[in-house]
C-alpha cells in the first residue's frame, strides 16, 4: 500500500489541470436536456477530444491515452474541480464504451469508439421497457433475423438523452420462444433509422431528460450486434456493472458537491446553525464523499492488479445515491425559505443550482436498478442470504 501519487501521475494531473483552465467555458452551459444545451455540450465533447481528453482510458488508436484507472480518477478529479460541463455522451463513453472494449470486434471498436470520443455520435441507453425497469429480464421488444439484418419491433422507455441523441443500445428478444434472461441479444440502433419514433418524457423539472423509443420494424445490419446472438443478457450485465460501479458516478463529483456544501454552510453560518444538525450533516457529507473516494481508489487498485468488480457495485450505487440526496437536502435546509426558488428567479440571488441538483438527486435511488433491487443483490449475492 502506498497512498501517494507517482511523479508521472502528478505530471498527468498538471497537464489536465492546465488544459482545463484554458478551455472550460467561463459560464455554465445550459442543460443538455434542452436543444441548445445539447448542441453546446456536443461542441464541448469535440473540444475535449481535441485535447485528447475524450476518454483517456481508451487506447491511443481509438482516441484515448491508454490511461489506467488511477489516472482516470485523477482526470475526473481535475474535471470536476474545474467545473467542466457534464458529459452529454455518458451513456456512450461510460457504459457502452467499456462494453464495446470487452465484447466488441475490432471492426466495431474502430467504427464506434472514435466517433464516441469526439461526440460526433451521442448515445442514449435503451435499458428499460414498460414493466421492465428494475426487472430487466422482462424485456419484450424483439429483433427478428432477416438475412443480414435484424428487424426490431417494440418499445423502450426511460431512455436518457434519447431526445437528441444519434444512437441507442439495448437488449432485444431474438428467440421468441425464450423467457427471462435467455434468448436476448445486445444491438446498437441508429435513432434516425426508418421506423424509429422518439417520444420525449418531461421529467420533474419539466425538461425532456428521457424519452420513450418506439421501434416499428426497424432494420439494422447484423454488424450492429454486440456479442453473440442470445448472449445479450451477459453483455448487458457487464454494462450495468459499469453503470452502478466505477465509471458513472466518479467520486470527484461528490467531493466537489461536498466542498460546495461546506462553503454554503460557511457562507450562511448564522442561519444554518439555528439547526445544530446541519453542521453534522455537512461534516458527514465530507466524510462520506471521502469514504466513497477512498473506496474507489481501493477498487481501482484491485482492478489494476487483475481483480473483478462483483456485488460491491451494488453497495456503491446505494452509497452514492443516498449521499447525493443527503447533500442536497442539507443544502436546501441551509437555504431555508429560499430553497424552493428556481435559479435566477427574483429573490433567489446566490442560491445557485442546489434546487436543480436536489431534483436530480431524487432519481439516484431509482435508475441503474432501484436501491431496493441493489439491496436484494447485496443480501443474496454478497452475503449469501436465502433467495425468496
Amino acid at each position: 500500500m502506498d497512498l501517494a501519487y507517482t511523479e508521472q501521475q502528478d505530471a498527468f494531473r498538471a497537464e489536465v489541470r492546465a488544459w482545463l483552465e484554458q478551455n472550460v467555458p467561463a459560464e455554465p452551459l445550459p442543460s443538455f436536456d434542452t436543444e441548445e444545451g445539447f448542441r453546446l455540450h456536443r461542441d464541448w465533447e469535440r473540444k475535449l477530444n481535441e485535447g485528447r481528453f475524450g476518454m483517456v482510458t481508451w487506447p491511443e488508436a481509438l482516441g484515448g491515452r491508454g490511461c489506467d484507472l488511477i489516472e482516470w480518477l485523477i482526470f475526473e478529479e481535475e474535471y470536476y474541480r474545474a467545473g467542466a460541463p457534464a458529459r452529454v455522451n455518458q451513456n456512450g463513453i461510460f457504459l457502452l464504451g467499456p462494453t464495446l472494449m470487452e465484447y466488441g470486434t475490432e471492426a466495431q471498436k474502430a467504427r464506434f469508439l472514435p466517433k464516441m470520443a469526439t461526440g460526433e455520435e451521442i448515445w442514449a441507453q435503451g435499458w428499460s421497457e414498460p414493466n421492465a425497469g428494475s426487472d430487466m429480464a422482462a424485456i419484450r421488444s424483439k429483433a427478428v433475423r432477416d438475412g443480414d439484418h435484424y428487424v426490431i419491433s417494440g418499445q423502450k422507455t426511460w431512455s436518457t438523452r434519447a431526445v437528441w441523441a444519434d444512437w441507442t443500445f439495448g437488449i432485444f428478444r431474438t428467440d421468441p420462444e425464450s423467457s427471462r434472461h435467455r434468448g436476448l441479444t445486445f444491438i446498437l440502433v441508429p435513432l434516425d433509422a426508418p421506423g424509429v419514433t422518439v417520444r420525449p418524457i418531461p421529467q420533474l423539472d419539466g425538461l425532456p431528460g428521457f424519452a420513450e423509443i418506439f421501434f416499428d420494424e426497424v432494420r439494422v445490419p447484423v454488424e450492429n450486434r454486440l456479442g453473440e446472438e442470445g448472449m445479450g443478457w451477459n453483455v448487458a450485465m457487464a454494462t450495468a456493472g459499469f453503470e452502478r460501479g466505477l465509471m458513472l458516478r466518479s467520486p470527484a463529483r461528490f467531493q466537489e458537491t461536498a466542498r460546495r456544501l461546506v462553503q454554503l454552510y460557511r457562507d450562511n453560518r448564522a442561519a444554518a446553525d439555528i439547526d445544530p444538525t446541519v453542521r453534522e450533516a455537512v461534516m458527514r457529507a465530507w466524510m462520506d464523499a471521502e469514504a466513497y473516494t477512498l473506496n474507489t481508489y481501493m477498487t481501482a487498485s484491485r482492478l489494476i492488479k487483475g481483480g473483478k468488480i462483483g456485488a460491491e457495485s451494488s453497495t456503491n450505487k446505494i452509497f452514492w445515491s443516498e449521499l447525493d440526496q443527503q447533500m442536497h437536502e442539507t443544502a436546501l435546509s441551509i437555504l431555508g425559505a429560499r430553497a424552493e426558488l428556481k435559479p435566477h428567479s427574483v429573490g433567489a440571488e446566490g442560491v445557485g443550482r442546489w434546487l436543480d441538483g436536489f431534483l436530480f438527486s431524487q432519481a439516484g435511488p431509482i435508475y441503474a436498478g432501484t436501491n431496493e433491487i441493489q439491496r436484494n443483490i447485496i443480501a443474496e449475492r454478497m452475503l449469501g442470504m436465502p433467495r425468496a
Binding site: Q325, R338, L341, P365, T370, E372
Partner: protein, 354 residues
Amino acid sequence: MDFTFSDDQLAFHDSVKGFLTNEVTPEAIRDLWQRDGGRSDELWGQLAELGLTAMTVPEQYGGLGLDALDFVLLAQECGYAALPEPLVETVMVAVPLLAGLADEHRQLQEHWLSRVASGEARLAVGHPSNPLVADAHIADLLLLCHGDEIHAVPAQQVQLRASESVDPSRRLFAVDWTPSDATRVAGGESGRRLQAEALDHGALACAAQQLGLANRMIDIAVDYSFERKQFGSAVGSFQAVKHLMANVAVKAEFSRAVLYRAAFAAARGQANAAIAASHAKIVATEAALLAARNGIQVHGAMGYTWEVDLHIFMKRAWALDGAWGTRGFHKARVGDFVFADGAPLGAGATFEAR
C-alpha cells in the same frame, strides 16, 4: 377531556372534502398552471359560496366567527387536494391578523373582512419569515410587516416582481412599497404580538396542509403500487415497498394528534400555542417529505416525471417546508422550551389546566 371533533365539524369536513375531490382534481391543477397568474376567480367564488372564506371572519362582519380548530380538518383537505388558491393562509393567517387589529381599525376591518367573507376581496400577508409574498398578485389588500409594524396596503400602492417556485402552484412576489402613517395599522408591542401570532398561525396552516399532502402521496403511491409490475408482480406486493409506505404511515399517524392539539391551542389562545404549532409543523413536514421521497421510490422512474400526478404534491411539500419558519427555526423554539428551567415536562404535563 375529549379529543374528538364534533359532529358538525366532521360533517362540514365531509362536504368540503367532497367538493375538493370533484373540483380540485390534478387535471384542474395542471390547467391552472397554464393560466396567467395561476388562479381561478370561479373557483374562489365557489369556495366563498361554501362559506369557507367567511369561516374565521367575526360574525359582526358577516362571517361565521369560527376558529382554527373548526378549520384544521379543512386545511388538511386543502393540502390533500394541493389546492393552489390561498384559502388556508387567508382563513388561518390573514383574516385573524386583520381581525386582531386594535378597535380603532374597525372601519378597515369591516370594509375588508366583509368582502373577504363574501369572496369579493382577497388578502395577502408579507411576513419576515417569508422572503417573498405569496399570492400578492390577486390580493386586493396586502398586510405587510415592516420592523415591528404592520401596514395595510391596497393593491394599487404596491409594485410586484414575480419569482418562480419549484411548485408551479405557488405564486411568489417581491413587493415594492412605501410604508406611511396612512398604511400603518399596528406597531410596537401589539405589532410584535400580531406578527408572532401570524407566524404561529402560518406554521399551523402549513402543518395541516403537509399532513394532507402526506396522506395524498401515500394514497397515490399505494394506488400506483398495484399498477406498476416488476418481476411479474405488482410492486406493492414486495415487502420493501410495503415498508416504505408503512414508515410514512407511522409518521403521518403520529402527526395527527399533534396537529389537532396545536389547532386547539391556537383556537383557545393557550400559552403553549406557539410550541404546539412548531411541533406540528416539524412532524407534519417530515411526514410529507418522507412521503415524497418514498412515494418517488414506489413509482420508480415514473415518479421522476412530470406526467404522473405525484409531483404536484411533492413540490408543494418541498415548498411549504421553508414557509412560515424553517424546521430549524421551529426545532430551536421547541428546544428552548424543553431545555428551559422549570419546563413542564414528564407524565401529566401535556395539557394546560382549564
